[in-house]
């Protein structure tokens, strides 16, 4: 059973009367999971985002997961066209969007069919009953109407004729019937706002700003939202209203942030910290394009964006920008990373800084463009010809994308190396509160460029410091003219060399340089006992599910800890030592066992995997069950 469902049961039901046209009992809960689902044209993503903002501003901890189809507009009402948005909001610290849904809002039969399996038994099911006509049912492959055939008896079904009520509320506004119907997501939203005592003001303000130039639409959406809210208050369909108190959160100023937003903000911040122009080169690809969109808006911060003709051009331009002394960054998803491989190898060979972002999605090939997966780890580490080591880092939550992209930039510039940041669709599109950092407290990234010859009056481009890092001499500097390239080069001089011993030496130097990064990253820390029966270790977007599952198992008295690798190459120096402190090691991954292979191979530990390849994140319960299976309960 999920934490959310349990917290509902565990919560003291504190009933009290409240005023208003109808008396509703108010029940207090720790945590609630709501999902909005409808046709991709129904505005579910917008409803979900607004609900998230309102909850965050109210003071809950939040975590969200949008789920949308790859097709921009699949045929209306079909199963392929269903779009959903899930939000977990809580008075406690939460790390995931939640396993089972407590309240499911469905705008049509297709949304019911594809989402019902995630609704907890006894959960609240709010249905737009106007959308259950013969045709709608047929499009969703229903032989009989589920609202009438008794198949929903395990749930608390509330049938609301949302189309009718919305039209009624908006009847004297001069809009087309189509425009009126487009407001029905706000009616549904208003209803759920009432149900969970959410403040209307943030959304009303958003509507006022968004539709300032279109008074009719502004009025319609405002009225739809309020009508939904008032319907909840006046109808007798809802015996209970729920309250999720504010969370105890570290003091500070917060905003909601998605992983892709955090990545974009982190890049701009890094460019200011290292005092370099950010040149972001990218080719549009799901789910990474939002980073390009966000950065294209940031010209005021000196950001240059280059929408390249293809993935290869994007990485080539980023390396060219780096060669010129700028902060060259390219972003993509797995298929794009494949195309960039050769150029990344060149950056390894010439030893120029480069940051590559891979917002992973389901693969191989085109795969599942809008779904999440962690199957590019080995590609990031090894997907190039020759011995071609690069640094690899991975954020563990949407907000962590901010910190880890700054880390990626720091490592790339300080070690003259490509760094790949492995985000994923779940992190990129998921959102959580972000404690806005104090800009002045962020550590600067100190970079210097040579201005004088470094060796007997000559410039040697591959002369190295004690960390094995070469100098970053910029074109335009008199006296330092030099050539770099993809051919093997002689140590120190950089001249083309086919000498066998030199080649081995250079391969080992490049590898050792990347290995030296381990001297400048934090050690691996554990959540839980320092030693014990089981360590659950992961990387990337599984952090929330792993941490929640381990915390629950610990509350049941198990000697289990979790650790999360944010640095995947090189790994923290104490990784092997941490792994050996536990009798068993479990590695949950959204792939067939890629980190598992690395840990077993490098550290000779008998780790086991828990693997899910469904385009979806782990449920907490899935990891929790595996913990109990491995070390008993």
């Amino acid at each position: 059973m999920s934490s959310v469902a349990r917290s509902v049961e565990e919560s003291p039901s504190e009933s009290h009367e409240r005023g208003g046209p109808v008396r509703h009992r108010v029940e207090e809960l720790d945590s609630v999971v709501v999902r909005f689902a409808g046709d991709s044209g129904d505005g579910m993503q917008l409803a979900g985002t607004q609900f998230t903002n309102a909850s965050a501003i109210f003071g809950n901890d939040i975590s969200t997961l949008p789920d949308f189809p790859a097709e921009i507009r699949a045929p209306a009402g079909t199963l392929a066209g269903v779009s959903g948005f899930q939000i977990n909001f809580s008075s406690q610290d939460i790390y995931t969007p939640g396993d089972l849904v407590n309240t499911l809002v469905v705008m049509n039969p297709a949304a019911l069919k594809t989402n019902l399996k995630d609704l907890e038994k006894g959960g609240l099911l709010i249905v737009n009953s106007d959308a259950f006509t013969f045709n709608d049912l047929r499009k969703a492959d229903y032989a009989t109407n589920p609202l009438e055939d008794g198949s929903l008896s395990a749930y608390r079904v509330i049938k609301v004729p949302i189309n009718t009520l919305n039209r009624e509320a908006l009847k004297d506004i001069r809009l087309s019937p189509r425009e009126v119907d487009r407001c029905k997501n706000f009616f549904a939203l208003g209803l759920v706002y009432w149900l969970y005592e959410r403040p209307l003001e943030p959304t009303l303000r958003w509507i006022r700003e968004k539709f300032a130039k279109n008074p009719a639409i502004l009025e319609a959406n405002t009225r739809a939202l309020k009508a939904g809210y008032n319907f909840g208050e006046t109808t007798e369909l809802f015996p209970v209203q729920y309250r999720v108190p504010k969370a105890h959160i570290k003091p500070g100023t917060y905003r909601k942030i998605t992983g892709n937003e955090a990545t974009a903000l982190g890049l701009v911040t890094a460019s200011i910290l290292c005092n370099k122009t950010l040149i972001y080169c990218s080719y549009p690809i799901t789910p990474a394009s939002d980073i390009l969109h966000a950065l294209a808006e940031m010209r005021r911060y000196g950001v240059r964006t280059f929408q390249a003709e293809d993935e290869i051009a994007a990485v080539g331009a980023a390396i060219g920008a780096s060669f010129g002394g700028a902060l060259g960054v390219t972003g993509s998803s797995g298929p794009g990373l494949c195309l960039k491989s050769e150029a990344i190898g060149l950056a390894v060979m010439v030893e120029l800084p480069l940051v590559v972002i891979d917002v992973q999605r389901g693969g191989p090939s085109t795969g599942l463009p809008t779904k999440t997966e962690q199957a590019d780890l080995l590609q990031a580490l090894f997907g190039r010809n020759g011995e071609s080591p690069v640094a690899v880092v991975a954020p563990c939550s949407p907000a962590d994308c901010f910190d880890m992209i700054i880390e990626a930039v720091r490592i790339a510039l300080r070690f003259m190396t490509p760094v790949i940041l492995l985000s994923d669709g779940y992190l990129g599109n998921g959102a959580e509160p972000w404690l806005i950092p104090d800009v002045n407290a962020l550590p600067r990234i100190e970079i210097s460029h040579p201005t004088k010859p470094n060796h007997d009056g000559q410039f040697m481009p591959y002369l190295r410091d004690e960390r094995l890092v070469r100098q970053w001499a910029l074109p335009g500097t008199p006296g330092l003219e030099h050539r770099i390239g993809g051919l093997e080069k002689e140590d120190v001089t950089g001249n083309v060399s086919y000498d066998p011993i030199n080649h081995e030496k250079m391969v080992r130097i490049r590898a050792q340089k990347v290995a030296n990064i381990a001297n400048e990253i934090p050690p691996l820390s554990v959540n839980g006992p320092e030693e014990g029966d089981l360590l659950v270790i992961g990387w990337g977007g599984t952090f929330g599910s792993i941490t929640t599952a381990v915390n629950r198992a610990r509350r049941k008295g198990l000697k289990v800890a979790s650790a999360h690798l944010r640095y995947l190459n090189p790994m923290p120096k104490n990784t092997g030592e941490v792994l050996r402190r536990y009798k068993r090691v479990l590695v949950p991954e959204l792939n067939c066992g890629q980190l598992l292979l690395l840990l077993r191979g490098r550290y000779l530990v008998d780790a086991v995997g828990l693997n899910k390849i469904q385009g979806k994140p782990f449920l907490v319960s899935e990891i929790e069950s595996e913990i109990y299976r491995l070390i008993g309960s």
């Binding site: 122009t277 000196g302 051009a313 080539g316 060219g320 010129g324 335009g476 050539r483 993809g486």
Partner: protein
């Protein structure tokens, strides 16, 4: 009156532009001449040596940067224009040259070539066309003529060749020219004109591959036939050619035709070259003239002024900063709804 102190322009000699590396092209390769003329052309530009960057892909021609004592980057096959584009966005102050060949630039790198040209990035793209793959030891290339017998086309190539200038003009290059490895003065002058052009300059150089495709441009280089097979373009002048300067190009409908002057055909009837024509149609027509049906044109086909890509991008940044002031991170972070937890 006070005198204004001026910094004298650096006077470079071709020797200043020679790197200490041994040149390793085959004896008799046309690349030697191009290297020598490049140094000569660059030496006279008044641009300091450290401002030059040579970027290449893969192939015989792409070894070029190693032999120039400037900044250089030998990149990967076909992608040189992408590195040059990124560099130019970062550093508009540099004089960036892309050295490529018919295989590198038109086969594996065709896409990048087109896009660098259409964006009008201020780079000089020099394409050495020898109609063959040299470094991989002699396979037919995208510019090889139909029937070319090579190791990979023992019965003769059946593929229709690309005309590099037609591609460049199709992408609306702002500067397009053609020259020859052995015509040293014309080569130097053409490179110099490309250097002075602000925007994407595309220069095709007919270059002889002594080993795998020897003599493929003989019709344009052999002194006994050259005058009848080539036409040197001059802006504002009629298209006249031939040993006796008595042949010209006239427009018949939409197509060019070769006519002999006299017998009622006067110079006024001929096409007049206009390298500054706004529309690329005339330049395209000239690029389609192929030996033996026509003399092949050399010189500047097109030279028009357009804003460069990097200037437009940088202007967007400058404009918004001028209008709204430089961005502050604190404001950026707070650009969404914020809330305070106390």
């Amino acid at each position: 009156m006070s005198t204004v102190a001026t910094t004298p322009l650096p006077t470079l000699t071709p020797k200043d532009l020679s790197s200490d590396q041994d040149v390793r092209w085959c004896p008799g390769c046309g690349d030697y001449s191009i290297l020598a003329q490049m140094k000569k052309a660059l030496a006279g530009l008044g641009i300091p040596r450290e401002k030059f960057v040579f970027i290449s892909g893969i192939g015989c021609s792409s070894r070029f940067p190693y032999y120039m004592n400037t900044y250089g980057f030998h990149t990967i096959h076909g992608r040189a224009p992408t590195f040059a584009t990124g560099l130019k966005i970062a550093r508009p102050d540099l004089s960036v040259w892309v050295i490529t060949g018919d295989g590198d630039g038109l086969s594996i790198g065709g896409n990048h070539l087109i896009h660098a040209i259409r964006r009008n990035v201020d780079i000089k793209i020099i394409l050495f066309n020898n109609e063959i793959y040299g470094l991989t030891k002699g396979q037919y290339s995208p510019t090889s003529r139909i029937g070319t017998r090579t190791k990979s086309s023992p019965q003769g190539s059946v593929e229709n060749p690309l005309r590099p200038l037609s591609i460049a003009i199709g992408a609306e290059a702002t500067f397009v020219a053609r020259t020859l490895d052995v015509d040293v003065n014309h080569l130097t002058d053409t490179l110099r004109r490309a250097a002075f052009h602000k925007g994407a300059a595309f220069v095709e150089i007919y270059q002889n591959c002594k080993i795998f495709n020897d003599g493929v441009f003989e019709y344009a280089t052999d002194k006994s036939v050259k005058a009848d097979n080539t036409l040197y373009l001059e802006h504002g002048k009629p298209l006249i050619f031939g040993k006796d300067r008595n042949k010209g190009i006239r427009l018949k409908g939409l197509d060019p035709e070769v006519v002999t002057l006299g017998n009622g055909v006067a110079a006024d009837d001929l096409l007049i070259h206009d390298e500054k024509a706004e529309e690329p149609s005339l330049a395209y027509l000239l690029s389609r003239m192929v030996y033996p049906r026509f003399p092949e044109c050399f010189g500047v086909f097109r030279a028009v002024e357009r804003p460069t890509y990097e200037a437009l991008i940088n202007k967007q940044v400058e404009d918004v900063i001028r209008a709204k002031g430089p961005g502050k991170l604190e404001e950026l972070f707070a650009s969404d709804d914020i809330w305070v937890v106390s």
